[in-house]
């Protein structure tokens, strides 16, 4: 058996039996392994939620921060050491609800960060309330008459903001999920991967079966560089397209706009000559 260096010995996992998070974790670790990344240079940042526990189970650097706040942390890491590979990972509530503003602005900045969203269309950790991506009418312990609000469409929003890499996967298909994650990480720029995954306890509607029946893969001749077409795909329902929906190579990175060098911030020094000159300006 080939040993995956990203595997971790964990005594107890915080997920329920059958949870889609296990499949996502496996796909992610395989992707990291296939890409032959050096775990000493990989940072996974997450927020709070069941999906956000993922980096607890990956043998790599971790910043498991606050609910909603994975993206600003990930940006801070990237801008302070751009040699690191940075992944920001969390649930749909964390990324699109509590952290919605950061989602918009992270896309505008376009750092080289991979954003992986565990989209189970429900709040798992807090026991089953509606999430921004919950389908209309779904009954929950809080939405007693069913969800009243139209779901948030992360793919459409990301494309509207010209996020340079926008993809969707379904954990029910581990191999494809892995391949999509691989491309997202390899992509230079902010990549958004919204991953359908069932919550077997709190979401009885959007099951493995439901995701299978309500998705399809984009055909081989689909051109992801066509933004209008991508937007059309993004608003398609009820069958959701899977794969790389939009891709625009070459969008300038925030790191480059800011002129950030490859010297990590822990080596930062204050140039004496520049300091003396700065003081002189005030005399």
């Amino acid at each position: 058996m080939i040993v995956n260096p990203f595997d971790m010995q964990v005594k107890t996992m915080g997920w329920c039996p059958g949870c889609g998070n296990y499949k996502l974790l496996d796909a992610l670790k395989e992707a990291l392994h296939h890409l032959a990344l050096d775990r000493r240079n990989l940072v996974i940042v997450s927020g709070i939620g069941q999906g956000a526990k993922t980096p607890q189970y990956v043998n790599a650097h971790m910043f498991n921060g606050l609910h909603g706040r994975a993206l600003p942390v990930a940006m801070g890491v990237k801008l302070s050491n751009r040699n690191l590979v940075v992944i920001a990972e969390s649930g749909d509530g964390c990324m699109y609800g509590e952290g919605g503003n950061h989602f918009l602005h992270a896309i505008r900045r376009n750092c080289d960060i991979t954003v992986i969203v565990h989209d189970n269309m429900v709040y798992g950790l807090t026991k089953g309330q509606a999430s921004p991506t919950s389908r209309l009418g779904m009954k929950t312990s809080l939405q007693l008459n069913g969800v009243l609000l139209e779901p948030f469409n992360p793919i459409a929003v990301a494309i509207a903001l010209d996020a340079p890499f926008v993809a969707r996967a379904n954990v029910g298909d581990g191999n494809q999920t892995r391949e999509i994650i691989k491309q997202a990480i390899a992509f230079k720029g902010l990549s958004v991967v919204d991953i359908f995954q069932p919550c077997v306890i709190f979401n009885k509607e959007n099951t493995y079966q439901w995701f299978k029946e309500n998705t399809y893969y984009l055909s081989d001749d689909y051109d992801p560089s066509d933004r209008r077409l991508a937007f059309e795909k993004a608003i398609e329902t009820p069958k959701f397209p899977l794969g790389i929906i939009y891709r625009r190579d070459g969008r300038e990175l925030y790191e480059d706009m800011l002129g950030i060098t490859h010297t990590p911030a822990y080596e930062h020094t204050v140039a004496d000559a520049a300091f003396a000159k700065m003081l002189k300006d005030y005399t």
């Binding site: 000493r40 890491v77 302070s80 300091f275």
Partner: protein, 565 residues
């Protein structure tokens, strides 16, 4: 006969957009070049145009850093300025303004001053500010040469014509000032001091900025909010020269989280904000506490609650920083009283944050940040840039229990180890845990550093005699007024103690306070620092001198209150 000796207060009043601050800046620079001690402070309304703003320039024989309410010369650029400053216009105040601005007002010290006319003579009304500075220099009987040089430098990029017109305007004002002084027998005597060759003339924002650069800060992410914005702007101007990442965040929550991410990756990072923005950062402060990721927060205070008085001053956010964030963890609160101190304390803030892996708050306020004063280059301290980052090995654990509560801090990408930080309660490796005993140990670990921080805490600065029975305590921006008041009284039984570290307090301070009649002076409604002294030392506080109008304390009002003591 109008005689002013060794301490003159010149106030420029006008609407926003009329440039009273620009006038003051030019004047202080020219006065400083002529070898005078200058101090300037500004009050303004929260609007871009109109309203009524004023800047006070003090020229003194001794170094001063406080606001005085008296006005010796008032240069009023519009009629509103006279109404706005009415309460401060006394019998000896000379008011320089155009006649039309005086209609319906009865001011004995009024001197008709055709500022706009001179400006137009020089070419355009836009030279009014230059005329105003010229007038004041003429009144003070100070050579105009330094001002001409200043104008040539200032407008060099705008071409010779602009320079020449400004100099003409300056001279017109200057001649008027000189003639008026002779005619009305206005006499100002201030003994000039030798100009220190390496003296800097800066405002509070610049002082905080210089200190931040000196500290080796390489990351700031912040969201604009007065008066905290100045530091963000300052670092933007210096970003290229010092390799500082400057990010305008989408909100304050993003700002502090980004700063923590940067710090986790090895940067010395800071956020700057005001009370409202800081309130939004509180969960992030708590995150710094649990993850033990160092961070420095600059909080430029303004009056709250909520939007309060956006452009005015107050010291009411001490409790906010003292109790910020849920849960219990360590923190440090610093509050500089002078610009030299601000430069040093910013470096100290980063040093303490990194050494003790904790959040450090630096409290300033609008009065402090917008004031202008000179700093001797010899008073500028550079602390050695010590990093407390270790190269990790494969066995590395971010939260190893070492006994002293401080685990060696590794950063990702430096060494073979894995660095896991976690907002959940965690074990030594940084993995979430609900083990009861570990939880107890981790809480203890995070609080233990308060002991070291208290031992290292800065002692307050003493003014006057240590034995004095009455001691006036002040903190942060009230250092200037404290020093001047104690100096004015020259009483054996009255001393001053200025605190530039507010938390934790050095236990040795208790001795200085015990048995004394303690009077606490602070710009808030309840006496937050007084309460802290009582809480920490159990000493009684006899009197609280408080102010919440949005203005700084004036020397006069504090003298008046203390007269009764």
């Amino acid at each position: 006969m109008h005689h002013f000796e060794n301490d003159i207060s010149i106030v420029f009043g006008g609407a926003a957009g009329q440039g009273v601050q620009t006038i003051a800046e030019a004047l202080v620079r020219v006065l400083k070049r002529n070898g005078y001690y200058v101090f300037a402070c500004t009050e303004f309304m929260s609007r871009i145009r109109g309203g009524s703003n004023s800047t006070e320039v003090r020229v003194t024989a001794r170094k001063r850093g406080a606001y005085v309410s008296k006005i010796d010369f008032l240069v009023a650029l519009n009629a509103d300025a006279i109404d706005h400053l009415q309460d401060r216009i006394g019998e000896t105040t000379l008011v320089f303004a155009e006649k039309k601005h005086l209609e319906g007002k009865d001011i004995s010290g009024f001197i008709d001053t055709p500022i706009a006319e001179f400006a137009e003579k020089a070419g355009s009304k836009i030279f009014s500010n230059t005329v105003a500075v010229g007038i004041v220099l003429g009144l003070l009987g100070i050579s105009i040469d330094a001002f001409s040089v200043y104008l040539s430098e200032q407008f060099a990029t705008k071409g010779e014509d602009v320079v020449a017109k400004n100099i003409t305007a300056a001279k017109l004002g200057y001649t008027f000032g000189k003639e008026t002084a002779a005619e009305k027998r206005i006499e100002v005597t201030i003994d000039p001091v030798e100009e220190q060759p390496g003296e800097l003339l800066i405002d509070g924002n610049t002082a905080v900025g210089i200190g931040t650069v000196a500290a080796g800060c390489s990351f700031i992410s912040s969201y604009p909010m007065s008066p905290g914005t100045g530091l963000l702007t300052y670092l933007a101007h210096n970003a290229e020269d010092f390799n500082i990442v400057v990010d305008q965040a989408e909100d304050e929550i993003a700002a502090i989280n980004a700063a923590l991410g940067a710090s986790y990756a090895g940067a010395r990072s800071i956020v700057t904000t005001s009370g409202g923005g800081f309130a939004l950062m509180e969960e992030g402060v708590s995150l710094a506490g649990v993850t033990e990721v160092p961070v420095v927060v600059h909080l430029g205070q303004r009056p709250g609650p909520a939007t309060g008085l956006p452009t005015r001053t107050e010291q009411a956010d001490l409790n906010l920083t003292l109790y910020a964030g849920h849960g219990e963890f360590s923190r440090v609160i610093l509050a500089p009283g002078t610009f030299a101190q601000a430069i040093e304390l910013m470096q100290r803030a980063f040093h303490l944050a990194e050494k003790y892996q904790t959040a450090v708050f630096v409290l300033t306020d609008q009065f402090f940040l917008d004031s202008i004063a000179a700093v001797d280059e010899s008073d500028i301290v550079r602390l050695p840039l010590e990093r407390y980052i270790v190269r990790t090995d494969e066995k590395y654990k971010r939260y190893s229990l070492t006994g002293d509560g401080l685990s060696p801090r590794g950063v990702p990408g430096y060494g073979d180890g894995i660095v896991k930080v976690d907002s959940h309660e965690h074990n030594e490796s940084g993995h979430l845990t609900e083990n009861f005993e570990l939880r107890r140990k981790m809480v203890e670990k995070r609080l233990k550093r308060l002991e070291y921080l208290a031992e290292e805490a800065l002692m307050p600065e003493l003014f006057g005699a240590a034995e004095a029975k009455n001691v006036v305590v002040a903190w942060g921006s009230n250092r200037g007024v404290l020093e001047e008041v104690i100096d004015n009284f020259q009483r054996k039984d009255l001393s001053g103690l200025h605190f530039s570290q507010l938390f934790p307090l050095n236990m040795a301070v208790k001795k200085q306070l015990e048995g004394k009649h303690i009077i606490v002076l602070e710009n808030n409604a309840t006496g937050q620092f007084a309460d802290l002294l009582i809480r920490e030392f159990g000493v009684p506080v006899s009197k609280r001198i408080l102010k919440v109008t949005g203005e700084p304390f004036s020397v006069e009002e504090v003298v008046e209150v203390l007269q009764e003591v």
